[in-house]
Symmetry: C2
Subunit: 556 residues, 2 copies
Amino acid sequence: MSKQQPKLRIIPLGGAGEIGKNMTVVEMDDDAIIIDTGVMFPSNDMLGVDLIIPDFRYLTERNKKLKIHGILYTHGHEDHTGAAPYVVDALRGVPLHATPLTAALLEVKLRDAHLLNETKINIFHPGDMLQIGPFKIESFHMTHSIPDCVGFGINTPYGMIIHSGDYKFDNTPIDGKKPDYAKLGELSQRGVLLLLGDSTNAERPGWTASEQVVVRGFDDIFRQAKERIIVATFASHISRIQMIADMAAKYKRKIAIAGHSMTENVKTARKIGLLNIPDEILVELNRINHILPSQLVIVATGSQGEPSAVLSRLANGQHRSLDVMAGDTIVVSAHTIPGNEEMVSRTINHLFQRGAEVIYDPIAPVHVSGHASQEEMKLLINLTNPRFFVPIHGELRHLKAHARLAALSGVAPKNIFVIENGMVLEADKNGVRPTNERVPGGYVFVDGSGVGDIGRAVIRDREVLARDGFLMVVVNVNPDSGKVIGEPEIITRGFVYLRDADDLIESIKRTVYDIMEQSRALRNGQRREKLQESLSRLLFNETKRRPMVFSVINEN
Amino acid sequence: MSKQQPKLRIIPLGGAGEIGKNMTVVEMDDDAIIIDTGVMFPSNDMLGVDLIIPDFRYLTERNKKLKIHGILYTHGHEDHTGAAPYVVDALRGVPLHATPLTAALLEVKLRDAHLLNETKINIFHPGDMLQIGPFKIESFHMTHSIPDCVGFGINTPYGMIIHSGDYKFDNTPIDGKKPDYAKLGELSQRGVLLLLGDSTNAERPGWTASEQVVVRGFDDIFRQAKERIIVATFASHISRIQMIADMAAKYKRKIAIAGHSMTENVKTARKIGLLNIPDEILVELNRINHILPSQLVIVATGSQGEPSAVLSRLANGQHRSLDVMAGDTIVVSAHTIPGNEEMVSRTINHLFQRGAEVIYDPIAPVHVSGHASQEEMKLLINLTNPRFFVPIHGELRHLKAHARLAALSGVAPKNIFVIENGMVLEADKNGVRPTNERVPGGYVFVDGSGVGDIGRAVIRDREVLARDGFLMVVVNVNPDSGKVIGEPEIITRGFVYLRDADDLIESIKRTVYDIMEQSRALRNGQRREKLQESLSRLLFNETKRRPMVFSVINEN
């Protein structure tokens, strides 16, 4: 390939359900950049798993040939930054590029992982042009639920590739920083080859409401609340926290911060000047007893009902220093992430039970989405007027819905590709097309301190254990006669209460004696198998459950 | 108490999250009736539990004094009928009273449980007056997502008690049978003491759309689909099935039924004439290969993404006789029950992956709720004009929202009570009031063939096993010297792959030898404890996980 006609490849890496969200690779011949390195949160059936990170084997395996010039970040949310320590650890020396807030959040992550010295974090500002290796990239500001959010325009010999980042078109954002329509228009005029667009809300008609709607919702709450106000939201939702701080100032309340990640993020964002809370209205959580309830607002973690975060600790009466007081107004100011509905609902119910007034969407407008709805998606498509369109950042159902919108907006249906993670898109002078090439596009479990050391088989065992528990019998036999010595020991968990199951224990013991007697001629391994099979059958017949059954036969 | 001033008590029994939904007791002195006997579905954290039924101990324990005259059913949904076999079994001889469809569905349940001869099912028709023991009860027809649905007006010396049942005000129902406004008006004129109202959609503004909206949605789909149409909905949603059958007739398609509960319900409803599908358009599932794809619609179970139902089997390619074919139009025509979001979304994604066109709410209007929204709730309150109001059938958050609506509609706030299951409401000539009396109002787990034999402790063990699995070591020691004989045996599941963990195995063995050596002077039980503690510590340090740890020390 000549330098004028390099081979251009776009590869979304890593996902569990969602596509093109956590990590994307863009290659020109053997030069590459990465956009975002996010984590995913395990679904309810990934038992015991703490986190999921993209499987980026492709990069480490191709690393010798592929020159990775940098990692660019669109914004500071976990699903776009959270895997940074793992990626930096694997790709030592590859520099990061991020806007000030994103860079500050990445710095905290890398410091915690003792990796801060392993790479360089370059700061750029929304609107800056970046030259990263042979890549000339234009950043443009987009509105979302965190400040300092950008999309990228990547110059290629075949036209511009636009990556939207996470976005909505909020024309009245809290911080006054609007979407960079002018830059989008300019890029559009230069000819857009391909738009990669955020599909999160592709099933939602209309236009996502501005954060200003939430301001009015909170103004009503602050005006009416007679006692404490407690607001739970995402720790990363700096714009929301700013709005609550402004509201506190307006209504002469002090503000306290509860929860580790919230405290850390507030500190980081205040330090770089992206969160403006005057010292005199900020109060330490351990000092709130000196403040009248009517003069206090607490911003807390736990809007997803996470058991260890502040809100559910309050709901369960398990917080170290905070308690729900009758008269508290508690606001859940967040969208419920799919899979968390039960936990959030239970938390709300428990807070009501403790005497709080609980306010949440749709009871009052206390949250708006950070993602574009259908009309905004059509606007982005028409603003950029791409030849090719690839919906990213969503489940397959969202990508399909986004693809329909693109077709409605005039992109030629044959130029719209719904892709999956690990699929390789190629571009040249003839345009963009999906190839048959697949690279690993899945995910890796992080469980405890282990990364990738448990897989599907361990999860399947956990499923069986979660459903019906296990039962184990330990039998001692005379090595010469094969006869059972003494009583078999029975250990079980998650199956039944053995102390209430005398008949069952008797049946188990009888089965052990019978099988051991019948199988005296067999080898130990065969006896074990036979014993386990017979016990499984017995337990299913008696209880209609299928616990895991183990046996140990001691011949000492 | 004189006969003129009996003691009136209302007690909601049994619930997990939802209140006043599955079973309600109404007592006048020692006479009682029961309204509904429903099951609940386990939440995601009730690991391995198949079903939850109300804890109705109160009835069996008070049974000798309390004369239970009958069980009345509002409609045939599982959450109102599913516990019938358990209740009939416990309260032998108490007769059931139900409308024709509900009675037919109850009959199937009792026959399956071999209990049909243990009680009598009395059939009444919506609008009938029932005399059950000393209770004079007026039934009135309400619209919902199943035909033959009623509410009850219970005459008492202190005024009428109205139980709404599950309802919406659908003025254009599919079967033409409208809500019985006239009867509600009549009851209202006679003076309503207390309204117990369905709170499910109390957070939803406006008026729930009529089932006719779904007719238009389906008409579009049937007009446009070129190949097969597969519709997943609730097996109990007879009105929806009727509508699809009508649509099939209109568009000259044959209809096939897939899934056990769907097949059973269709048979039952057709038999009693509440579902009208002509024989000539019904086709057996094993005969559909003889029908052109463009002339076929299949109605299937699995709208909640349940792993064993038809839709997710299709999504995973695991159905015995059906496969997704490219060109299929698959309609998910149901509301997603909270807690099932992940499963439903995954099913939709997989169906897309297999090449189907998938249609679901909000992509097209293919489902409407069967429950009243806020304006309908206000209408019911104003139609019946009750002195007292108690929201039922919802989580605490829904009851709170419904209570707010009642206050807005003019019920005196001091006459509105938000209750919990097991709480006793009392009524006399002074009105209704909650008492401090509590009866068991919780639930009982059904797991396998066991009813109530597993409790919280077993579930907690399952949680630990689900998170980190278990590890067990079996050590043989010389009973005289206390020295270890041979190698310890290590069994583990759901923790790590031992085969990839040589170092860890080595550390475990070393710990076993060390501890056994140090603890030779201790008794077996103490040695075991010490060994388990040391191993737990080792495993946490090495893996940051906390599997259950067991040990067996053989001294034979």
